[in-house]
Each structure stands twice: as structure tokens, then as C-alpha cells.
Amino acid sequence: MAKENKNYDQLNTSITFIGKLKDEKEDMWSLFYDNYASMIINFARKRGCSKELSEDVLQETAMALFRYMPNFEYDREKGKFRSFLFKITESKIIDAFRRSGKLSLLKNSEIFDSRAVNSEEEFASSTHLWDQAWEEELLSKAVVIVRQKVQSKTFNCFEKVFLKGLTAKEVADEYRINTNLVYQHKHKVFKMVVDVAKKLLKEYNNQ
């Protein structure tokens, strides 16, 4: 998935970010959307939403955020922006399942019979999936960044072996390079992805 990361540096401080969201500047909304939309979709899918339902969840979450953000008071002690977003998204997922009459398909639906997300059990279950979606989102962003940093052949070796399941020999034959070099490229890119993901995690942890 191609994503723009050129505005990444603008997310350095969460207070600045949220302040800009509160100002409802359209470019900041775009930035919010570009940074969180696929994560919201991914989380909704993990919770059991179909593709269509997950897109409804994204639309309603974005609509709600527009509406609630002016009244949102950022407080480091109370929680991060991501927690705030989680609560909105979670409530929209429950709404979406209620509308579709398929509440029973919601993962862990038995603990979501009541509207509020209160008990520790249901909170832990859902936040676990949210955290998973978050980790995957960081990895996804890291891949995009690393792809821009390395030579295309290096990245392709990683992609073909890691994602497409080709053997190192098949890739080596295709590029007419040594098999060991394919492994080196794969490991190099993987390590870079992990390093960038860790860096992003550190940057985002203040949000």
C-alpha cells in the first residue's frame, strides 16, 4: 500500500498535533487520516467486520472525530490520543454491528452485550487487538520508509523472498546475483524495517 510519509516529522509532538486537529485545519485532518485510516480499517477487520462494514466504521469514526475534537482536552495523565481514538473506533464498531444485525459476529460479542465498554475483561480483549493493529501499522509505515531508502533491487529481494515466498535461488537467478546476496538483502531490509518501526514507536509514544 503506497502511503505518503513526507509529513511524518509533523507528528513529533502530540500536543501540537492535537492542537492542530482542534483547529480543524484541513491539511491536519488529511494528515490524521493518512496516518490512522488504514489502522482503523485493520482494527475493524480484526474485530470481525467485513470490508464494507470496516469502511463504514472508518467514515463514522472520522465524522465523530471532527465533531468531538473541539471539546477534547488533551491530558497526558489521562491518556494518549490513540486511546481516545480507540474509544471512538470501538463504539463505532459496535454501532456498525448493531446496524447490520450481526452483533453475534463481533469478536468476543458475548462481552459486548452492553453498550459501554467497562469491564476490565472486555477492555483488555479489545485493546489487545487495537495494539496489534497499531504494531502492524508501524511496521507498514516502516516498510514504506525503508523502501525509499534502499535500492529497488535490494527491496525486491526482500519482498520476493519474504512476502511472495520465492526461494532465494529463484530470486538470485532472476537478478543474476549470488544466492547469499539475496539473503543479505532480505536480512538487511528486515533489520531496517524493525529499526524504523522502533523509532516510529518512540516518536508516537508521546501521543
Partner: protein, 150 residues
């Protein structure tokens, strides 16, 4: 996070696979829709009372909000309609919004020119906050105003 090589490797694999399922075009359309709706709502602020509303828009200009308090809402060219729409391409009773508990469904009433929801021709759709229906030269935007318990 990301300390276990095998765990991270598996997650990265899942990530790259699931990213292929995400439809970038759909995400862009949703983004544009939300920005458009909120731009209109800045021009004509949503009533402060909680509830569901239809924002009637003509050629990009927000005209008025209609509160969806009844179980059945008629929309059409007829002046008897709950939401009257003065347009020759709109049928007398073009479509209906029905409420079942807090769920709202819009259905085309076998109108001559049909209706689109979020750009796609549809007979019926359970409405989501921010949905845009088009009949004739008018847009009907479904908006929910409700408090979020945080």
C-alpha cells in the same frame, strides 16, 4: 514491541498481506466525503439537540436540517413530503427513510431516476453518519449528533 524477531517477522508478513486488501480508492473517497460534509456543517452548524438529521444541500449549498424524529420520513417533489425537494428529476415520492430503534434505512420508492448513496446507485441502504444521497440535483446528508461517552 519488535524485540522478538520471529514474532515481528510474522506480524510484518500479516501486515503486508492485509495491506493488499485495503482499497486506497475507497479510503480516499471516504476522506473526501468527510471533509466535504464537515465543510457544509461549518457553513450551517448542526442543531445542538442530539439526534439524527438530514442536511439538504443544493449545488454545494447547505439549505436546512430536517430532524428524523418520525418512524417514516418521505422525501420527494410532493409538497406533502416531510422533506420536499423541488426538482423536476425527482419523483413525487422519491424515497423513504424508516427508523427502527436507532437504525435508519433509506429506500428508493421505485422512483423514475433512482438515487445514489456515496456515489453508487442503490435501492436501499442502512445509513451511516456522513452518508451522502443524491436525488436529482439535491444531496441529502445523513448526520448523527450524539454524545460520546468517554
Amino acid at each position: 514491541m519488535f524485540e522478538n524477531k520471529y514474532d515481528t517477522s510474522a506480524k510484518l508478513h500479516t501486515t503486508l498481506i492485509s495491506n493488499k486488501e485495503i482499497n486506497e480508492t475507497h479510503l480516499a473517497k471516504i476522506k473526501n466525503r468527510v471533509i466535504y460534509v464537515n465543510t457544509l456543517m461549518k457553513q450551517l452548524p448542526l442543531p445542538s439537540e442530539n439526534g439524527a438529521y438530514i442536511l439538504l444541500v443544493k449545488e454545494g449549498n447547505p439549505l436546512s436540517y430536517f430532524s428524523l424524529v418520525k418512524d417514516s420520513i418521505s422525501i420527494g417533489r410532493s409538497q406533502d413530503s416531510y422533506i420536499p425537494v423541488d426538482d423536476g428529476n425527482v419523483s413525487r415520492l422519491h424515497c423513504v427513510i424508516e427508523r427502527n430503534n436507532s437504525i435508519f434505512t433509506i429506500s428508493d420508492n421505485e422512483s423514475k431516476n433512482g438515487m445514489t448513496v456515496n456515489g453508487e446507485k442503490m435501492q436501499s441502504r442502512i445509513l451511516c453518519d456522513g452518508d451522502i444521497m443524491r436525488i436529482g440535483s439535491y444531496e441529502l446528508i445523513f448526520v448523527l449528533n450524539k454524545n460520546l461517552t468517554m
